[in-house]
């Protein structure tokens, strides 16, 4: 076995010049295609951030329709007025649905006591305000939580522990534009936002200016970041925490009812089919189509140009790699014939060639991804796009897809040479 591995490695290190060409072609292809992908993703993000509702592509926002009733008496029916766990399970069963991200409001009085004296020592302000709290799924806000430590705290929150809280930027804007000036309070700037991360506040669950529920709880909230992903005038807390407080103070399945949810679907076609189905059940459905047609066209055209450039780079790389691998393989026909005459099977010879190019491709693709991870920020700094930020979104699926493609391209490029070798070249002594 060791000797066969030795022969395989000998093959890997043969024809180093051509191997280096293939290796660098893969690095350049992966880096360029990946960089264009990042530009495309960042552009889409920018469009959604600036021009669209907060609904990302291939997501559907589902909200219960307002319950019918008279005044304070509301009639709850199973006609889309309640978004419950049972309905979520029903939605999950639809074809094309990948994941559901539900949001739950805390349906009890909530008040916060914020000590601003640490930020503004001269002012000595302690600010108390009634609030609304919304529990959000980790999957939707994880990129807004500052640091892995806070992400862990969010994911593993248990009653009794400090409560991680996110502040939506819309809430901050509302404070800055009306509350701060009206009450003579300092505005919270971008720099101050950074300083506020990790700050503590007291949060009273079950107590507000209007009502106090017996047994109300005083928790320590810890600010873990700011978010654009939940456009609510509410404090954002872990979904599990919202369930806990609703269950504790409200009971009656209130820990299983949601204010809205995002359905993540597999593709654009699923957006249509799933939306239609959920609409029929009586829910209010919103999709990314709330973008204006002009903006959609602009986005689609830019995406098309980016995709075309990616294909051009990919195509040129494949041609360069294919020529290199075919020439390299056919140049070694005499060596492979000697191996075969000495008892190596065709399968073994083919295997060593495939392993050689798979290894070169894998190394090149990994290095290409590494360069993307480390160079994009530097490129963004040099390029200085106005109002447009290059965002490196670390997606394990994308990384795996790129590395797999980088590995397979040189392998598939060798197929013509392998076929020629297998059916002709190796059949003579």
């Amino acid at each position: 076995m060791f000797q066969r591995i030795f022969l395989t490695f000998k093959e890997v290190f043969s024809q180093r010049f051509i191997s280096i060409i293939v290796f660098f072609s893969i690095i350049v292809a992966v880096f360029c295609v990946g960089a264009f992908q990042i530009v495309g993703n960042s552009f889409n993000y920018y469009i959604h951030d600036k021009f669209a509702t907060s609904i990302p592509p291939n997501f559907i926002k589902v909200t219960p329709k307002p319950a019918g009733g008279l005044g304070l008496i509301q009639l709850k029916k199973d006609d889309g007025s309640v978004l419950s766990d049972a309905f979520l399970a029903k939605i999950q069963g639809l074809p094309g649905v990948r994941e559901i991200h539900p949001y739950m409001s805390v349906q009890i009085p909530v008040q916060a006591l914020i000590d601003l004296s640490k930020l503004f020592p001269l002012l000595n302000i302690r600010y108390r305000t009634d609030l609304v709290c919304v529990g959000a799924p980790y999957s939707m806000i994880k990129n807004d939580i500052q640091g892995k430590e806070f992400q862990k705290k969010w994911l593993n929150w248990k009653p009794g522990q400090p409560l991680p809280i996110l502040v939506p930027n819309v809430l901050l804007d509302a404070y800055n534009q009306s509350m701060a000036d009206a009450n003579g309070l300092p505005k919270i700037t971008k720099d101050l936002q950074k300083m506020m991360i990790g700050a503590h506040a007291q949060i009273f669950f079950g107590q507000s200016s209007f009502k106090t529920i017996p047994g109300f709880m005083v928790e320590t909230g810890e600010l873990v970041g700011f978010t654009d992903n939940v456009p609510s005038l509410a404090l954002i807390i872990p979904l599990g925490a919202a369930r806990f407080y609703n269950g504790k103070f409200r009971g009656q399945d209130s820990d299983k009812e949601y204010i809205y949810c995002f359905i993540e679907v597999k593709d654009h076609d699923s957006v249509i089919t799933v939306s239609d189905k959920v609409k029929k059940w009586g829910f209010v459905v919103e999709t990314e189509k709330s973008l204006s047609l002009e903006i959609q066209n602009l986005r689609n055209n830019v995406n098309m140009v980016i995709a075309a450039l990616q294909w051009v780079i990919l195509g040129m790389s494949i041609i360069a790699i294919a020529f290199s691998t075919v020439i390299a393989t056919l140049n070694r026909t005499e060596y492979y014939r000697i191996l075969r005459v000495l008892g190596a099977s065709k399968a073994f010879i083919t295997f060593t060639i495939i392993i050689k190019y798979a290894l070169i491709g894998w190394l090149g693709a990994t290095l290409g991804m590494f360069l993307i991870g480390n160079l994009i920020d530097e490129i963004a700094k040099v390029a200085k796009f106005s109002g447009f930020e290059l965002k490196l979104i670390t997606d394990k699926g994308m990384v795996a897809q790129y590395i797999l493609s980088g590995t397979l391209i040189p392998v598939f490029s060798t197929i013509p040479a392998l076929l020629k070798l297998y059916f002709k070249g190796l059949n003579r002594d």
């Binding site: 000797q3 014939r337 075969r340 005459v341 008892g343 065709k346 399968a347 002594d429």
Partner: protein
């Protein structure tokens, strides 16, 4: 040890079928040297390739040590070729960029065993073939005779019972050719190896235990005691004119004249080209 029964080989060339071998029968025993001669393109190398499992026969059966060779997926022939057959070529087929030792150990590496025992066997073969001093030299730097010795050592590293030699001395001078043939003879006698040799050299045909002539894909046995007469009868009138330059056997004591069988004009001449 090796048995061929009614082996045919048909190639399709440019849409036309060409029969290379026609009902070839052969039975080779342990320790026996058999020689095959014949015109270029008559099918000698094809026959060796079929025996080595490099190409399957179109029809017929092939038995090796009593077992029928199955060509499915190339696995059984490769296994046999690696462990049971040593192949020696006119063009040596060494990897010139690698050392002598690396070349010799290659079949052992393919087998998956190139440890202490194989290295000891290699050293002993190098000693025996008189090329021990070149062990760490690149094969490309050796002379033709030295290269053929390396090729023989490589063919013997896995200790195969059958040696196939395809014009092993065609590229060598007479003295070196003699030495190489002597090595092969010794192998047959000392180690009981069966040797099937394709050659045009008269002294080899003389010393082989059995001789075959391949004519248009048919393997025709030649009686040893009528070797000279057989080739005499096979000669064309034009070839007869070149008789004067006839050749004698190189071994002392028993001069043999094989009129017209050697020399470039002869039909069964020592041509260097492969079939």
């Amino acid at each position: 040890m090796l048995k061929l029964e009614g082996v045919d080989k048909v190639y399709k060339i440019a849409g036309k079928t060409k029969q290379i071998l026609q009902r070839v029968d052969l039975d080779l025993k342990e320790g026996e040297i058999a020689a095959v001669t014949g015109k270029s393109g008559c099918g000698k190398t094809t026959m060796l390739n079929i025996i080595a499992g490099l190409t399957p026969p179109s029809h017929g059966k092939l038995y090796f040590m009593g077992k029928r060779i199955v060509y499915f997926l190339d696995l059984m022939p490769s296994w046999i070729r690696n462990r049971k057959i040593g192949f020696i070529f006119q063009t040596f087929k060494l990897i010139n960029e690698e050392t002598v030792a690396s070349n010799i150990l290659l079949p052992a590496r393919i087998r998956g065993h190139a440890g202490k025992n194989e290295r000891m066997r290699m050293d002993s073969l190098l000693e025996r073939l008189g090329i021990a001093e070149y062990k760490n030299m690149r094969a490309g730097l050796l002379s033709g005779g030295q290269k053929q010795r390396v090729a023989i050592a490589r063919a013997l590293i896995n200790n195969p019972p059958l040696i196939l030699a395809d014009e092993p001395t065609a590229n060598l001078d007479k003295a070196t050719s003699l030495e190489i043939f002597h090595i092969l003879e010794t192998l047959a006698v000392d180690e009981k190896k069966a040797i099937l040799i394709v050659t045009h050299k008269d002294y080899m045909l003389q010393r082989a235990e059995r001789v075959f002539d391949m004519i248009d894909g048919k393997l025709i046995p030649i009686p040893k005691d009528d070797l000279i007469g057989y080739f005499d009868r096979m000669m064309t009138p034009i070839v007869r004119m070149g008789e004067k330059s006839g050749e004698t056997t190189p071994h002392p004591g028993k001069p043999v004249k094989v009129a017209g069988h050697s020399g470039k004009k002869a039909g069964h001449s020592a041509e260097k080209g492969e079939e």
